[in-house]
Amino acid sequence: MNTASSEQEKELTDSEVRELVLARLSVLSPDTAMSIGNEGTFTRDDLIRHVKDGDPVGATIERMELEWLRAMKEGIVQQLS
């Protein structure tokens, strides 16, 4: 995660976002577990599969990535600090 990546956000296509999310998920520790409210609980490999499938769980993970990129672009790190 760096400033350069957030600056590139506006140029990311849907497939590029998906590739970025998959790349980031793939380096999480294998025992990562995430509870996504109504959708259930997921391991790292589950999350990767859902993003690849482009289903609602995958879409939530992609939106989470995009919202953080937007926040970074808007200078959230400086605002929080």
Binding site: M1, D31, A33, M64
Partner: protein, 211 residues
């Protein structure tokens, strides 16, 4: 003045929320606030409706899966939905439930009623090795302590808005702490997930509402 809390436990997510909610109940007991604890199969619509009408709790905490217009209980049976949402009027409700602040919360909230909840999925990371002992899960604690802060601060006499903003301050503190750490992938994922909950938590209706 009383607390009614629903604690379904039918999957890892609801089990974590239920166990962490014990801290809310402990605080209510400490403050001598009466508690109606709808745990497991008691977290269902008829039990909820009957106990709200009988006990008239000022604070309602709803754990469970949700949709835009519904909060569910054990085994995902509805607990609060359009047809009984008026039972939450003139109370402070905190729904640890996905998306329910979008529609249900807006129906409940008014000048006499408060609804604190989420307009998106409530998400948390946890350590699968801690499923049997969730209080030892320091990763999940970053999410669930701020969530618990909301009802606990209200039980301590703070307004709904103060409680909601206090929880956001805790989330922000965790984000700042993690940003200062070496950015390993798990830490970055936690930052994004904490930010997600921070961004989507809302306090609707009567903000200066207190017990």
């Amino acid at each position: 003045m009383g607390l009614l809390i629903t604690r379904p436990e039918h999957d890892p997510g609801t089990r974590y929320l239920s166990r962490w909610s014990e801290k809310i109940i402990d605080e209510a007991v400490k403050k001598r606030v009466g508690v109606v604890d709808l745990n497991k199969t008691k977290a269902e619509q008829r039990e909820f409706e009957g106990r709200v009408q009988k006990v008239n709790p000022k604070l309602v905490v709803l754990n469970g899966h949700g949709t835009d217009d519904m909060v569910m209980g054990h085994d995902n049976h509805p607990v609060v939905l359009d047809q009984n949402h008026a039972l939450l009027k003139r109370r402070i409700t905190y729904a640890v439930s996905c998306c329910s602040a979008r529609v249900l919360g807006r129906k409940v909230a008014d000048e006499e009623s408060t609804y604190i909840g989420y307009v998106e999925d409530f998400v948390f990371m946890y350590d699968p090795k801690c499923v049997g002992k969730p209080f030892k899960d320091t990763r999940a604690a970053r999410y669930l302590e701020p969530s618990n802060h909301i009802p606990i601060a209200i039980l301590k006499g703070h307004t709904a808005k103060e409680a909601s903003e206090g929880a956001k301050a805790m989330l922000k503190k965790h984000i700042i702490e993690l940003l200062a750490k070496p950015s390993d992938p798990d830490t970055i994922q936690d930052i994004k997930t904490l930010w997600w909950n921070f961004s989507h938590q809302v306090c609707l209706g009567k903000e200066d509402h207190r017990l």
